[in-house]
Every structure is written in C-alpha cells, then in structure tokens.
C-alpha cells in the first residue's frame, strides 16, 4: 500500500475532492440499468445509484442526489473502484470496505482511495453516511444475481 494513503492530510484531500468533484455523478435513462434509491430515514442523504452489468462485468455505475460530504465522497470513490470490475471483484471490494468500516484489518491495495474512510467507523452516527453507496452497489449486484438464477 502506498505510504501517502496513510496520511490523514491526504485522506482529507481525497474526501474533499470527491465531495466537490464527484466522479460518475450522473444518472442513465437506459432502462437496462439496475437502480437503487437510497434515502436515509434519519438524515438528508437521498442518493440514487445506477449500474449496468453485462456478462458478469460492471460496465457502468453512476449516482446522483443529495448527500453530506461522507455519503457523497464515499459513493463517488466506490463507484470509481467498482466501475469496469467483474461482479466478483466488486463484491470483494465492498466486503473489504465493510471490514474497514468495522475497524478490522483491511487490504489497502484493494480499497485504494476508500482508505480515506478507515476511521469513520469510530463515529457511530456517520457509519450510515459512509456505507450508503456500498449498500446500493451490493443491493444491485444481489438483484442481478437473483434475477439471473431464475
């Protein structure tokens, strides 16, 4: 893991950058996209995440909506990390992300910029913000898998 990913100043910059200039911030009109609307029951977070899976690969993933710094930046980073990955790779990334949020040892090589959130699990009332995008991505993958099994 690159050393710069251990620097709290870098973590702040990563989150600032992804909040102010989110990646993949758009929605698709294409009906073949999966869609997950994630509205927090306790705060303002209200994000829609969309995903297109083809032949076991995430060929597109994007999001839009209203959210705080943590929900916006984490969703931006996780869409960036999972875009172009196989479904299995994406699941592994999300699993590592949850491991990190649980404050357990994680693989920084897998999580890349998402390591900026390695301490957010200490703030119980921000865990929902930090996992709203992860939850959406996982939900759509499960939906696709469930659909393909039929």
């Amino acid at each position: 893991m690159n050393d710069y990913l251990n620097d709290p100043r870098i973590h702040r910059e990563i989150i600032m950058d992804h909040y102010q200039h989110p990646h993949n911030r758009r929605l698709s009109e294409d009906p073949s996209y999966l869609k997950a609307h994630m509205a927090s029951e306790s705060c303002i977070d209200d994000l829609t995440v969309m995903m297109k899976i083809e032949n076991g690969k995430i060929v597109d993933v994007c999001f839009d909506g209203v959210g705080c710094t943590v929900s916006t930046a984490s969703t931006s980073i996780l869409t960036t990390l999972t875009l172009g990955k196989s479904v299995d790779e994406a699941k592994a990334i999300i699993a590592q992300y949850y491991t990190m949020i649980d404050l357990k040892p994680f693989d920084g090589e897998v999580l890349q910029e998402a390591v900026a959130f390695q301490n957010v699990g200490k703030q119980a009332n921000r865990i929902n913000c930090a996992t709203i995008g992860a939850k959406a991505i996982l939900q759509m993958i499960h939906e696709k898998e469930h659909h393909d099994e039929k």
Binding site: R12, Y19, C68, T69, K122
Partner: protein, 410 residues
C-alpha cells in the same frame, strides 16, 4: 433581567456544563433541560406517592389525585383556560392526532378545506393529510413570502367558505416567526372555520392566552417547557371537546358499560384519558410551570430574544454563513455554511462541544420555500448565556470543509 448565573444553578445538567463536563446546548426546540424542582417532583411521586389516581379509597391515592387535579388547574391557568378544557395526552403529537381523528374526521365533508402552511411540522401535517384522504377534504396552503415569512394578506385571500379548519403553528420550529394568532382566529371564525394551533414552540417561550386569542384548539408538549417527556396537552374549547368522541377507550374514561356494549362516557376531559396517565410527568409539569412563572414569561421572551439578536448579529459578520430567519423574534436561528452540508457543520460543532440540530427539522414541505434541503438550527433557551453564543460564532468563524471532514475521519 434574568439572573442567568443563578438560574444555571437550578439545572443539574447546566452545573455540569459550567464545570466543562458537558457541551453547550443549542437544541432547545427539540427538548429543554429540566430544573431540579421538576426532577424532585418526579422523584417524589415515586418515592413518596407511587399509587394510582382516581382509584383507591385510601389517603395517598386521594392526595396524589388532588395533586394531579391541581396540576390540570395550573396548566389551565397558565394558558388562560378552564381546567375542564385541558386534556393530558402522551405528547403534542398525540394531541394533534386527537384533533385530527377525534374532531376533524367527524366534521369534515368531501371538498371541505383544511388551510395550513408549508412550514408545518410532520406531527401536524401528517395527521391532517390522513384525515383529508379519509374524508375527501382538501389541504390548501397559505402562500408564504419568499424566505418562509407569513403574510396576513395571503391568509385573508386563502380563506373562503369551504375552509373548515385552519391548522397552524404559533411559532414555526424551523424559522421561529410568530404568527398573529388572535387576528388569524378572528378571520377563521368569520368564515365559520375552527382554528387549531400547534403551540409546541410557543407555549414554552411566550405568554399564552387561549381565551384572549379566542383559539379553538392548542396542542403543546411538556418536555419542551422544562417538564418531563411522555406528556402532552390538548386544550380545546369545552363545546368542541364535548362534541368529540375519544380515539381511545378503556378504564378511567367510562362512567359505566354493560355486557351488551352500552357505554356511557365520563364528561370532558376525562372521557379522553383512558388508562393510567403519566402521573409523575403531570406532577413534574406542574413544577415546570411554577419555575417558568417564577421567572415570568415576558422575562423569558426578552432573554431569549436578546440572545437570538446577539447570535444573529455575530453570524451576520461572517461572509460564509447564510442566515434564513435573521428577523424572527424567537430564539430559533436557522443557517447554513456555504459549501458545507448542514450535517457536516452540526458534526463539526459537536466536535467543538456545541449541540445543534441539522436536517429539515420535520418540516419537509418547507424545503421548497426556503430553497435548501437542509439547515443547521441553533435554538436558544433563557438559560443559555451570551458567552455560549459567542463561542458558537467563534467556532463558526474558522469552520472549513476540510475541518469538518477532519473531525469525521479522525
């Protein structure tokens, strides 16, 4: 002028705050701190009373029943009503649901109109929306001025002879403006409408006179006025309460019933109070009213107004702050920091020992009027100090997006 230093000694939580053990509390619109006298009254019930009311043929039950009835009389005097017009409920939310289900549902006809405001709290709007869909009545909104201020002319224009119920908060929990409630009641009555007032944010902070204002219903809650949680009050004009059916039935509210289902209810207000009430909360509320009256509601209003003015004055010197209700007279200050979500600002303030609320404050419809999905709300009480206000301004002076993120991921 109130002696804030002495007042703070009356509140155990504030004594801890002043020792640096607890942070600065600016979420008084959510609930207020409790003075020792209220805590003592609650404790005394459990340590010295601890029996049910209006049930037992024994001395202690009589004594507690008497104290309970005296509390009802005290609440009535506090808002200038008759004790028979005071119903104890489980909270202001329950009071508003009782108006909707017990009154509005019985009287509203298809195409009747409920007139209300987009700034209303969910606890007012949601019961009304349900009663509208059940009865075929419509909800109409009095247009607010830009920024969410109330406009009496717009209200006059919105009234018409299909309006049967006007439902408004005397003081908005988001913006803190005071409505001209007596004039509104007069105008509502002139078209034959009944006016029901949400007093959750007004009764704790202003003098209340339901008789002088001639309002028909008023709901408010104990815990926002120094009293215990789990207790609300519904005031209603006796004639209206008499024509209403209770929503809940059970012990305590009936005079007699038989196996065939013949039921004779008690009179108002007892017919609305089935089951054992929150006795200790009612006794605590009685002590809370004593405390408020000891200070004087006018003095409380003046103190909170002065604190609010100081906060507004300080915040207006900061270019990165957007204030939404600088001109509202009550102690509610609603703002945002440019470029930072409200939740992150609130979280940053918490990291600096200041408790505020962020979000839409249960007034989700207002979002379209003030053009922002979420805000930070600092709500003051008379026991807050100028030094606490100055501390908030100091912390906000140096707030940045990076600093907010830093406290979240540290």
């Amino acid at each position: 002028m109130l002696d804030t230093a002495r007042i703070r000694q009356d509140f155990p939580v504030l004594r801890k705050t002043d020792c640096g053990e607890l942070g600065i509390y600016f979420d008084n619109a959510a609930t207020t701190y409790k003075p020792q006298t209220v805590i003592d009254a609650v404790m005394a019930y459990y340590t010295e009373g601890s029996v049910n009311i209006h049930r037992g043929e024994y001395d202690r039950s009589f004594a507690i029943s008497e104290a309970y009835d005296a509390a009802r009389a005290k609440v009535a005097r506090f808002i200038h009503a008759d004790p028979h017009e005071i119903i104890f409920t489980s909270g202001a939310t329950a009071s508003m649901n009782l108006i909707a289900m017990g009154y509005a549902e019985a009287v509203l006809q298809p195409d009747d109109v409920i007139l209300t405001l987009e700034s209303e709290h969910a606890s007012s709007l949601l019961p009304l929306m349900r009663v509208a869909s059940k009865t075929g009545a419509r909800i109409e909104y009095i247009p607010l001025l830009d920024g969410g201020r109330f406009d009496l002319e717009a209200y006059k224009n919105a009234l018409h002879d299909r309006v049967k119920l006007v439902a408004v908060a005397h003081v908005s929990n988001v913006l803190g403006y005071i409505l001209p409630i007596a004039e509104m009641a007069r105008l509502a009555h002139s078209v034959g409408a009944v006016i029901c007032v949400d007093g959750a944010q007004s009764v704790p902070h202003l003098k209340t006179d339901v008789t002088g204002w001639d309002i028909d219903f008023l709901s408010f809650s104990s815990h926002k006025m120094l009293g215990p949680t789990g207790l609300g009050i519904l005031y209603g004009k006796k004639a209206l309460l008499d024509q209403m059916d209770p929503v809940l039935l059970g012990g305590g509210s009936n005079a007699r019933f038989d196996r065939t289902g013949q039921l004779v209810l008690k009179g108002t207000p007892y017919k609305f109070e089935s089951g054992t009430p929150a006795i200790e909360a009612v006794l605590g509320l009685s002590a809370a009213i004593d405390y408020l009256e000891g200070l004087g509601m006018d003095a409380i209003y003046e103190a909170e107004h002065a604190l609010k003015a100081r906060m507004v004055q300080g915040l207006s010197t900061l270019d990165h702050i957007v204030l939404y209700n600088a001109d509202a007279p009550t102690g509610i200050v609603t703002f945002n920091v440019k470029g930072i979500p409200a939740q992150d600002v609130a979280f940053y303030l918490n990291a600096n020992g200041i408790m505020v609320r962020s979000g839409n404050h249960c007034a989700k419809v207002l979002v379209d009027v003030i053009h922002t999905p979420d805000t930070v709300r600092a709500s003051l009480a008379f026991y807050n100090t100028p030094a606490e206000v100055d501390r908030l301004i100091d912390v906000l002076r140096s707030v940045t997006l990076e600093a907010c993120i830093a406290v979240t991921i540290a």
